[in-house]
């Protein structure tokens, strides 16, 4: 493993800064974990585009150029209007700020507090699913996170209102933010989680790392709405682990951002598990939006489904890399994956790569991908009925996106996302 000199310098700077913060009461991780994380950063360095997993996502160039110094000055943020009737959680500039609303069987607080009140749950899960040595960004997050978020849904609790987590970021100068989230859903529980990322102000880089534990028979719906400004850069890691008979149903909507890398990993540690990963991505301007999914079928009789659709405008690039691992014991696995894309300009790019690794012999797995322009025949058909070029394209793009937007089961959120989608086509 090679370490460039420059890498060493920048990580060394980070190291010093972080060590001065070790023992910081707002970082939930202890000295050992932080030390391990920083050592990993030092050895590994930032991934360049020679790194297969970051082939199209040159984080190194962006990170080193823009985010060399970790500054943390932020302005007071104005909350965007809340349109969904929900339990609202606010993460301001990467730190847990407040929660409004409550429900029986639901605990929401910051991780440091949770370490005292829910010691066992936190110790068992935090850093266990998103290990600091799994990636440089998780390592950085581990070393620098402050006031992480803890959401705990007790055994058999059914939470009627969605838990709406607002990640709001508004830096005064170039900054790095390190939001950390641990969500533990007890056996038989039922909850809807919404991650809504919103930002303005100066450029920032986020290492947001989430761990989501879905207990036996639990049902979790997880919506991610990434509608940040052009100032948003980040590598977002979501590590999901599921137990038997559970359902994890995720839908990600990305409408803007300069560099968005989502690592969405789901590990199936049980039988009869169902997992869905869906995504709708609109790339504008020079955005690079890279979705890496990984589904690990470790045990038999599980069903997973992935559908990602992208629309790339201008000079944007969209990447979808979907890895499915079917281990030797995972017989009777059903795993399906599909990636469909539309190029809206000659300068836009789409990179899509399915990766199936199958070690069991009695499985059903499939993957498919398509990339093309708006269907010219359909376009002419609409125009021949008096529909103008702009409306005709909009109708076709809406038709393309509809099945994903319709996966949102909360009507007010559905309408909000539809509105954001329509806005993003302009």
């Amino acid at each position: 493993m090679s370490i460039s000199l420059e890498n060493k310098i920048s990580t060394a700077q980070n190291l010093t800064a972080a060590l001065s913060r070790v023992g910081d009461k707002n970082n939930v991780f202890g000295f050992d974990m932080i030390g391990e994380a920083l050592q990993f950063v030092e050895i590994e360095g930032l991934p360049t585009n020679k790194h297969e997993e970051f082939k199209y996502c040159n984080v190194d160039a962006v990170f080193r150029k823009e985010f060399k110094e970790i500054n943390n000055s932020f302005s007071e943020i104005n909350m965007p209007p809340v349109v969904v009737d929900a339990i609202n959680v606010y993460i301001i500039n990467g730190r847990f700020e407040s929660v409004s609303g409550k429900a029986e069987g639901l605990v929401i607080c910051d991780l440091v507090a949770a370490q005292k009140t829910h010691k066992e749950v936190v110790e068992k899960n935090l850093g266990a699913h998103a290990k600091p040595t799994s990636s440089v960004f998780v390592a950085l997050n581990t070393a620098y996170c402050q006031k992480g978020l803890f959401v705990y849904v007790e055994k058999n609790a059914k939470i009627d209102k969605p838990v709406y987590i607002h990640y709001l970021t508004d830096p005064i100068s170039v900054s790095v933010i390190n939001p950390r989230t641990l969500i533990v859903c007890g056996a038989g529980s039922n909850v809807q989680i919404i991650d809504d990322y919103y930002s303005k102000g100066a450029n920032f880089f986020s290492t947001h790392t989430s761990e989501i534990v879905v207990g036996e028979n639990a049902q979790v719906k997880h919506y991610k709405i990434q509608n940040e400004g052009d100032n948003a850069f980040g590598v977002i890691t979501t590590e999901v682990v599921q137990s038997s008979n559970s359902v994890y149903d995720a839908a990600t909507f990305i409408f803007s951002g300069s560099l968005v890398r989502n690592n969405h990993h789901v590990r199936l540690f049980g039988q009869n598990i169902e997992a869905h990963l869906n995504g709708l991505i609109i790339g504008r301007h020079n955005a690079l939006i890279d979705n890496h999914t990984y589904i690990d079928h470790a045990m038999p009789n599980c069903n997973t489904n992935e559908l990602y659709k992208g629309i790339a405008y201008e000079k944007s690039s969209l990447v979808f890399n979907g890895k499915i691992m079917v281990r030797r014991d995972a017989q009777k696995t059903n795993a399906y994956q599909s990636s469909k894309n539309i190029l809206m300009s000659d300068d836009a790019s789409i990179y899509t790569k399915p990766q199936l690794e199958i070690y069991a012999d009695d499985v059903k797995c499939s993957h498919g991908t398509s990339t093309g322009k708006v269907d010219e025949d359909a376009l002419f058909y609409l125009k021949a009925r008096g529909i103008g070029d702009e409306s005709a394209r909009k109708l076709l793009l809406q038709a393309f996106a509809q099945e994903l937007i319709d996966k949102i089961e909360i009507p007010s959120l559905h309408d909000k996302v539809l509105e954001l989608f329509e806005e993003s086509l302009k």
């Binding site: 359909a378 609409l382 021949a384 809406q398």
Partner: protein, 251 residues
């Protein structure tokens, strides 16, 4: 209503229409017949404004306007309708939303306010009856999973909804069994008025038993080689296109 003068058009550099002259007046139904490859579909696509067809010469005047200068959507808004030979399936776009957009964009073009939702729904109900189109089909995605007959009926349903002054039926009879053909023809007949006109393009005489034309033209090798009354269609049916081919064969 529409006057076509010396219309020449090419596809991918190959000349298909080699000088078409045709005048259609309000209240008239004209039929164009001809063997495969004679240029029938090219004529309909050129009139509707499909981009792959290049007009190299000639002019088309539609209600006093130069049709060839208009974008396809503006031709439609001016009252030109093409019933497609192969209607396109558009998954995810509902028939209703599609028609509402089409009607309202046309109204906007004419400076009219959008149609009230209840008026629109009443119109849908009335017109789908005309072609015996199942109400469920109207709510489905445009042509998706429709049978051949349903697609053609949907074309006529759209025609009824948009109420064009000049309609081109491009081989609407192809792929239809006799019952579907009767339904489609009866729909068209109900839409005939003294103020609108039709151009029926067909390979076979069969459709013309149900939609009786005022004039029949034979298109061969990119030109209209023969014109006459409805009896010309019967004559062609009897003798086939071979005689025409022999008579007008060009070397």
């Amino acid at each position: 209503m529409i006057t076509i003068k010396n219309l020449r058009a090419s596809v991918e550099g190959k000349e298909i229409l080699k000088g078409i002259d045709l005048e259609i007046k309000a209240g008239e139904v004209h039929a164009i017949m001809g063997p495969n490859g004679s240029g029938k579909s090219t004529l309909s696509n050129v009139l509707a404004g499909r981009a792959d067809y290049e007009v190299t010469e000639g002019e088309v005047t539609f209600n006093g306007k130069n049709l060839l200068e208009l974008a396809p959507e503006d031709r439609a808004r001016e009252g030109v309708f093409l019933a497609f030979q192969y209607p396109v399936e558009i998954p995810g776009v509902s028939n209703i939303n599609f028609l509402k957009t089409a009607i309202n964009e046309t109204r906007e073009y004419k400076g009219q306010a959008p149609m009230e939702a209840k008026d629109f729904l009443a119109l849908v109900k009335e017109k789908q009856h005309l072609v015996e189109l199942d109400g469920k089909l109207a709510n489905r995605s445009v042509n998706e999973g429709f049978s051949g007959g349903e697609k053609k009926r949907n074309e006529i349903f759209q025609m009824a909804m948009l109420n064009p002054s000049f309609s081109i039926l491009d081989e609407t009879d192809s792929g239809l069994d006799i019952d579907a053909l009767k339904i489609v023809a009866s729909g068209v007949n109900k839409l005939r008025t003294k103020d609108n006109a039709f151009l029926v393009i067909t390979h076979y005489q069969r459709l013309l038993d149900y939609i009786i034309p005022d004039f029949v033209h034979v298109l061969y090798n990119g030109k209209i080689v023969k014109s006459g009354g409805k009896e010309l269609a019967l004559e062609l049916e009897e003798k086939g296109y071979d005689e025409i081919k022999k008579q007008f064969e060009t070397v």
